[in-house]
């Protein structure tokens, strides 16, 4: 089969690889009908996340049709079923899964000893990601083996196009969780840093959850235009001071809820000198992430407000103003999305016409164009926001 394969820093290729096979009775194989490139794939593309191996298959936003089912998964999943595959792999039985913390599944990371060493305690297995999270082959491919397939799937009905359903795999529940974990209440002012695909879903989620004022922060005009389309007030951080403008919009009080949809790779901008220092440290392996957004959120957030972190961080960060955070009594909530916790509800909202996630797709290409699209997406060229791939 064809698959997008990681060969090293900035080196993705559309290779011919061997087909996946059922390895465990709980497995299933799906024929991929659509998949996508995620912003967190760029962290792998940039080799910022350790423990990737040349030959690893990329991708964790995937949907398709079941073509083979292991003996244990049969019944819960059958040949011909149309499914979206969450980016997190979950057993459904461990303590964390029972609590709904699916991205912290204690059993699905097949390289859990590495996860224990890296994170203190293992987290869930993820598709197409580092070997710290199991090193499972990803779904930017023609076929995908789904481990724990009896619990790691979202059945979706026929009659709704892939474009509307694919993002149940990651960015829609991720954006939704970002808003939910901020505990958005009607009347809140919510500031969202980053208008990439997850930021866009977060903005829509905040609107649906009743935020009175949603403020979107970015510097790319096309992304800001998409945020504005959903009713957000926009701030271009290259043209105005984020802190001054947020205070102006909140009568000097600051936003009730601040959401980080940027994460590790904050934009490097001479107007924000800390980003230059972070980038220099990152190049010399003195710091893993560039946490400019975290610093700004902590500074500007209203006392007793909530900081919700959904952008991916990879390791160590410097100069986080914990004194400000502690004295202002801020609440921090963060996690990789617990995808299946939200997907039943979100599928209903798609069917009901409350949200149509296909709005975010700017590029639809064949899988073999994937390597080129990684570059286009990375460089934000051609006004690229979200790439959908068809095998």
């Amino acid at each position: 089969m064809r698959a997008l394969v990681w060969h090293g820093k900035e080196d993705i290729r559309c290779d011919t690889v061997s087909d996946p096979e059922i390895e465990n009775p709980r497995d299933a194989i799906i024929k991929v009908t659509s998949c996508a490139i995620c912003g967190s794939d760029l962290h792998l593309f940039h080799d910022l996340i350790p423990a990737m191996l040349p030959g690893d298959i990329m991708g964790h936003e995937t949907m398709g049709e079941v073509v083979e089912v292991g003996s244990v998964a049969k019944g819960k999943l059958n040949k011909g079923d149309r499914v979206v595959i969450p980016f997190t792999i979950q057993c459904g039985e461990c303590d964390q899964c029972r609590r709904g913390n699916f991205s912290l599944c204690q059993r699905s990371n097949r390289k859990g000893d590495l996860g224990d060493k890296a994170f203190g305690h293992r987290t869930a297995g993820l598709f197409g990601y580092t070997h710290l999270t199991g090193g499972y082959p990803g779904g930017q491919a023609e076929y995908l083996r789904v481990p724990f397939a009896d619990t790691t799937h979202i059945k979706v009905p026929d009659g709704i196009e892939d474009e509307k359903l694919l993002f149940l795999s990651d960015i829609l529940p991720t954006g939704w969780q970002a808003a939910v974990q901020a505990d958005i209440q009607p009347g809140d002012t919510v500031a969202v840093w980053g208008c990439g695909p997850v930021g866009q879903m977060t903005i829509r989620s905040a609107i649906l959850l009743g935020a009175e004022q949603v403020i979107a922060i970015d510097h790319l005009p096309e992304r800001l235009s998409m945020a504005k389309a959903a009713g957000a007030i926009t701030i271009n951080f290259e043209q105005e001071s984020v802190v001054a403008r947020l205070n102006e919009l909140t009568k000097g009080e600051g936003p009730h809820k601040c959401i980080d949809a940027v994460g590790s790779e904050s934009h490097v901008n001479p107007g924000q000198p800390d980003t230059l220092l972070d980038r220099a440290k990152q190049m010399m392996m003195l710091e893993n992430d560039r946490p400019h957004v975290l610093r700004e959120m902590i500074y500007v957030c209203r006392p007793a407000g909530v900081i919700s972190i959904i952008g991916v961080y990879t390791g160590l960060v410097d100069k986080i103003p914990m004194g400000q955070a502690m004295n202002k009594g801020l609440t921090f909530r963060m996690a990789q999305a617990h995808v299946p916790r939200w997907t039943g509800d979100l599928l209903h909202r798609i069917e009901d016409g409350q949200i149509d996630p296909s709005f975010v797709i700017t590029h639809k290409v064949n899988l073999s164009d994937g390597p080129e699209m990684y570059r286009t997406f990375r460089d934000k060229a051609d006004s690229c926001i979200k790439v959908m791939l068809r095998p």
């Binding site: 559309c14 070997h131 609440t331 409350q354 570059r375």
Partner: protein, 195 residues
Amino acid sequence: MPLTNITHIARSHGDPWVLRKGPSSLTSADQLARALGWFSIGLGVVELIAPGRIARTLGLEGKEGTIRAYGLRELASAVPTLSIDKPVGLAARIAGDALDLGTLSTALRPDNPKRNNAAVATALVLGITLLDIVAYAGAKAVHSRERGKKRDYSDRAGLPKGLQSSRGLARKDFKTPPDYRAEGTVADALPAKAS
């Protein structure tokens, strides 16, 4: 050394393996930049550990400190050249080339017995400068955001029921789960009043 070598991480038995490689996302400009980055590291290390030998070969005795400083400069420019911010590193290399040529020009004086060596070194640096300029222009072009069209997405709300109807729509049937509540109200925290 990559973490994967230290920890002996290996792909699991049964995972798909590569049968035939396709074209890489790395462009020729990226590959040239990488080669120049590694060259910078090699030259920088030599300049740091053997400045006396370089000075004697070129007839630049007394400039060992300068050569050592240039070694540090080479290493410093190698870091961004090997990173994803290649144009920054390559620009630093071009500026460094100018410094190198300036220093070498002092060795081309007629009374320098190593004048021929200095001439060969100058020709090599000129060649490398040309490569740096080619790599810089290539890297700037392939990493440019200006590729393709500029689009406006202000018609992409993604909220089919319209903005006004969508605000708070999920509140009709969604309640924030108790484990996701981050803030309560004073009223919530007070004991219920006896009626």
